[in-house]
């Protein structure tokens, strides 16, 4: 167990319906939708919230320091606030931030808000812009890359190809149960394998959509959690692992930030068999090829066992190890919100009121991840029971 000065609980969750088009509202109104819902969910009065943590990626909407404008919609007027961003991990990072700000004793209630209105910018150009302007920026193509696919195919052959497609189908099945998900499509493995090539062997249906959405979570001290009506979900631990700016692309093994994060988290929290001990896993899966590779890394499967697990249906909502009951990132990806949505969905599963995509069992521990930057990972562990400090 990580050291923790005082316990922090999630006492409210708010999430917009993530959609490809939200031309009916502007950015501020998008954020306000999530805030309104978290206030309703937590029965907390906005004026009683101490601090707002705001996160997104500025260059996706082209607004400098958007937290200043968003005071109009996030309720930060006259309050303390922070703007924390780290790329795709932003949503997960602001959860760490809120956890720190409450656990530190600085604030008793912190509202973390992650959002993105992808349709207002050009996502792939925005991502390409993260590469070094003096070298890679001329070459990189956002996150649209088939390189992982090529590596998986080389290692595991056709079964990997089938599993990546099957995993995508599972995400679609889950997303249809989650009315907040963006892509709630009915697809078959064949549809995936025959969809348009984006970056061979990555196909359109392997890839996440560009979504508009916001997600807000209320983090409170133990004392305050007791006073609030919602069943508290406890923050147990989080681990952030980054890697060098331009990593050794040749030996990707050198790049196993996911495995490293999992190793640290499991060791600190006495997890020896994640598949048994963790009730549900909300993983940041921007594309199914990455998902297939990463779920193995997070679960420390050495020999691609996850491929059989996919084909056996072990990752289904009612399977041995439910993966992304929400439909995951391939079903909704408002980037600045995506990783905090993982935490929100994990918390909903622990609360037991996730709705149609609730897993049919009591969830004691839930894990969620964020992914971004140059292969950065943020890993969160949430629990139904208070962590023993």
């Amino acid at each position: 167990m990580t050291k923790r000065t005082r316990n922090v609980a999630i006492s409210g969750i708010g999430q917009t319906r993530h959609r490809g088009h939200r031309e009916d509202i502007n950015m501020v109104e998008l954020v306000a939708e999530a805030v309104e819902e978290v206030l309703a969910d937590s029965k907390m009065d906005l004026k009683d919230i101490d601090c707002i943590v705001h996160g997104n990626m500025e260059l996706f909407e082209g607004v400098h320091q958007p937290d200043m404008w968003h005071v109009l919609g996030d309720g930060a007027y006259g309050k303390a606030g922070f703007r924390i961003t780290t790329g795709g991990t932003t949503g997960a990072t602001i959860v760490c931030s809120a956890d720190h700000l409450v656990a530190s004793g600085m604030y008793d209630s912190v509202l973390a808000i992650g959002w993105e209105k992808q349709e207002e910018g050009m996502t792939t150009t925005g991502i390409t812009n993260m590469a070094d302007p003096l070298w890679e920026r001329e070459v990189q193509t956002g996150a649209i890359t088939g390189t992982h696919g090529v590596m998986m195919m080389n290692k595991f052959g056709e079964p990997a190809n089938q599993a990546a497609a099957e995993l995508r189908v599972l995400m679609a099945d889950n997303a249809r149960k989650n009315y907040k998900a963006h892509l709630r499509i009915e697809i078959t493995r064949q549809d995936v394998l025959e969809s348009r090539v984006l970056a061979w062997p990555l196909r359109l249906l392997h890839m996440c959509p560009e979504s508009n959405g916001a997600c807000a979570i209320l983090f409170v001290s133990e004392e305050l959690a007791k006073k609030l009506p919602q069943k508290p979900v406890w923050m147990h631990d989080h681990v952030t692992v980054h890697r060098q700016e331009t990593f050794d692309l040749v030996n990707m093994g050198d790049l196993d930030t996911h495995g490293e994060a999992a190793r640290v988290l499991y060791a600190r929290n006495g997890i020896v068999d994640p598949i048994k001990q963790i009730g549900v896993f909300e993983m940041y899966d921007p594309q199914s090829w990455w998902a297939l590779d990463w779920v193995g890394k997070f679960l420390m499967l050495e020999n691609g066992e996850q491929i059989d697990m996919v084909l056996n249906g072990d990752f289904a909502i009612d399977g041995r190890f439910p993966l992304n009951p929400s439909g995951g990132v391939v079903s909704s990806n408002p980037i600045g919100a995506t990783a905090i949505i993982r935490v929100a969905e994990a918390a909903l599963q622990i609360r037991g009121n996730a709705g149609e995509h609730q897993v049919p069992k009591d969830v004691e521990l839930a894990m969620s991840t964020g992914f971004g930057g140059t292969f950065w990972t943020v890993l969160h562990l949430l629990g139904a029971e208070k962590p023993d400090k």
Partner: protein, 160 residues
């Protein structure tokens, strides 16, 4: 220049690469603000947003009251005349702005104007540097065929 005893470095290797950060955007005002912006274009009307809870009339309009977070659904006409409350004379030109904004010749005045009936002040421009605090001003509208549902449909404000 940065130097180190570990690695030979040369001043001639220090230079600057010109580049852009070029990304296209589409900003959606949303249904509520669109109504107010389109009124500028079609009716030459300046609409503010009235919060039923605290009765403030906000300009620029917004669908949330910043103070009490209540939803705002009512647009009310303000102005068109108003009183200059704050101002600053702008003496510099920014080439970049000219590409995207219909700029006035310098020196011009950037002002905060309390429009009649509004609780807050509108930011807009007044030609020249002669305007004073307390002066009454009115909008100078672009011709009907040039207005495009932007705040710049009001070319500038001018003395009454």
């Amino acid at each position: 220049m940065y130097t180190t005893d570990k690695l030979p470095l040369d001043q001639k290797d220090c230079f600057g690469k010109r580049g852009l950060m070029s990304i296209p955007y589409r900003y959606f005002a949303g249904v509520f603000l669109s109504r107010a912006l389109i009124a500028l274009r079609d009716e030459k009307k300046i609409l503010g947003a009235r919060c039923e809870k605290c009765d403030r009339v906000y300009f620029p309009p917004r669908s949330r009251c910043e103070r009490d977070f209540s939803k705002i659904t009512e647009l009310v006409e303000v102005g068109p005349e108003g009183t200059v409350e704050e101002l600053t004379v702008v003496n510099y030109e920014e080439e970049y702005f000219k590409k995207f904004c219909p700029m006035l010749d310098i020196p011009y005045t950037m002002a905060l104007i309390k429009l009649d009936g509004a609780s807050t002040k509108i930011l807009h421009r007044i030609p020249g540097d002669k305007v004073k605090r307390g002066d009454r001003v009115r909008p100078k509208w672009l011709d009907d065929d040039r207005r495009e549902a932007m705040i710049t449909d009001i070319e500038y404000f001018e003395k009454v």
